[in-house]
Amino acid sequence: MATKIVNAITTGMDLWAEHEHKKGHLLGLKVDNKHSAPETIRLMDNFTTDAGYTSGGSAYSAESLISGSAIQKFQVTVPAGDSISLGEEDCKGLEFLGRAAALGSATASGCIITAQYKLT
């Protein structure tokens, strides 16, 4: 299990890099919001698909689902001065195919995000 601590930033902070042959599994998440306003944290999955075919046989080009096109996997809002903690049971099934990033609704050095995860 690995841990990453980042601040809430609107442009996003990486929680872990994409592994070519592994998925990422979130095992725990803590958001400690010492900021003066509520903070909404979104966890985004960034990856690129391979080219292939649709079930009807039409060619399908590789698609980049990164940054603005990333897939949202989780969202939580933490009131000002509050914190939330999610354990393994809460995060069960939260799976990332590529790079995981945390985006805050506001950039706030006082809002700390701690993620525990493993790659399998």
Binding site: E20, H21, F47, T49, Y53, S55, L97
Partner: protein
Amino acid sequence: MLELRPIEVFEQVWPRPKVLLPGHNVQFSDKFPDGLDFVKGKTFRITKTAQVRYELSWILPAINYKDINLSNENAGEKLYPEAKDEVYETLIGFKPGNYFTLIYFPAEQPIYRLGYYTMTPLISSASLKYLGAIKPEDSPVNNPTLKIYTFFKLNPFIFRIAVDNGVDYEKMTWEICVNKCKLETIAAPAEPVKYIPYIDELKW
């Protein structure tokens, strides 16, 4: 030439190697095509082996598929031997996920089908896409049961990997172990011997 065994249960178990080892004998079917006359109907002893591990992954959207060519062709994954006196025994384990695999040899000729003329795998069909489909739990990475034998100049095995309904995207990962075997011709019959049929014998 291809094995996908169900989980076997025995009351008493004698250890049996999962892969070919030095000193083992292999006998190739006489049904192999003439272009593969260097193995057709012949018996060999394995003189040395080496296990090479490899991983491959793809990410696709739901209900999409991709054809994976295992041969040494330009578009292939190049998992075949390049010498006539070698056979590659390749075990493929699938990491868990919401996907399945159909096997073709050669392209567009499914290995697993039934007798009635419509009972052939069809990826665009809600039911026939599951005909002969291999799911990750059928050959898991910690105990792969899917094994193929490949030789120099063998036609390509095509693995059609498809994301199943129910997820937006899926990452499909194979853990591969290529057991490289060097062959030495011996006079048949030899006992014990592992018989390797040609794929057409499996497509009845």
